[in-house]
Subunit: 162 residues, 2 copies
DNA sequence: ACCAAAACCGACCTCTTCGGTAGGATTTCG
DNA sequence: CGAAATCCTACCGAAGAGGTCGGTTTTGGT
């Protein structure tokens, strides 16, 4: 399995937040109920998202979470990375801040590290897929196709849930 | 981490086999020494590769393993899949033999499963990267460019790669 | 015939992560 | 105040990762 349910749940959480029109914070509890996920577990996940600066929180009664920036500006690589940690296909694959890729077993430096070539390609594939998908896109996709075919379709419309 | 060292070690093993010119089988022991990997562990990995039809074995003295087909015809998706199992980005992501993708939590079928869209893209990225890389390519890449430096520091005397 | 080199096989072991629970603090609104 | 919420830390069972070990079987060489 490439990713764990951390990514799955976390993304679902983000989508749930992105689905909300205004800037009123949503409680984790309602997210947990909507997605039928354990609240206590979501707490851990949302903490990572908050530390990564993807969501902001309001404490106290009627508090909750909301997106730190518009969904169009949130790409999924940031989300997944916040939840799962560095997106590296392999243990021996550390990316320095400058973007250089290191490989643990580079003693035999005269012959190129063949697996590095492979994993680099894989990583590119994953990163491109993630970075090329915005939260807005997922929210849009998951929208429960509104009843009327007539337009006037804005995302400022009223929520469906109770 | 996307993949475990199973894939890393297994790919290194395959490369080692692919580097050998003739059809003489290579013992796991020599592979283990060349790559500095534990022999007993490699046994488990090579068993998977054999069951997947990627390598063939000869038992007894002077036995060993060799590629089941030319390295040009071995793509890395088959190798990685043999070692790591189904390449799925997420638990709830089962691909039927016909290529249809199932999703576990499809109760809310009227609104599209947004994460499925995301994971499908990721999987495509990975699969394309893996399927687009042949073993021959990696062998070529890992060849210790012998002609460039005319000094004999090489471990393999005459490697007519490619 | 025997021995050594190899593939084969399965049980075991330790460590980390995953997925989740529990219990409590702390903050804020009504 | 008290309910609703975030926040924080610790723990826990199951599963997988990454091996190790001991043994069996097959085979070539002498």
């Amino acid at each position: 399995m490439l990713f764990s349910t951390k990514a799955e749940y976390g993304v679902r959480l983000m989508i749930e937040l992105g689905r909300q029109p205004g800037s009123t914070p949503i409680s984790l509890n309602s997210v947990a109920e909507a997605e039928r996920l354990p609240l206590s577990y979501l707490e851990h996940l949302v903490a990572k998202l908050r530390k990564a600066g993807l969501v902001t929180s309001t404490r106290g009664a009627h508090g909750g979470y909301r997106l730190a920036k518009p969904a169009e500006e949130i790409t999924m690589d940031a989300v997944v990375q916040a939840l799962e940690g560095q997106i590296a296909p392999m243990e021996c694959f550390h990316e320095t801040p400058e973007g250089r890729v290191l490989c643990s077993h580079e003693e035999d430096a005269d012959r190129g590290c063949a697996t590095k070539l492979l994993w680099t390609r894989v990583q590119n594939g994953v990163t491109k897929a993630l970075a090329g998908t915005t939260l807005a896109e997922l929210v849009e996709f998951s929208a429960p196709h509104p009843r009327a075919e007539s337009h006037g379709r804005s995302k400022a419309t009223v929520v469906h849930a109770a």
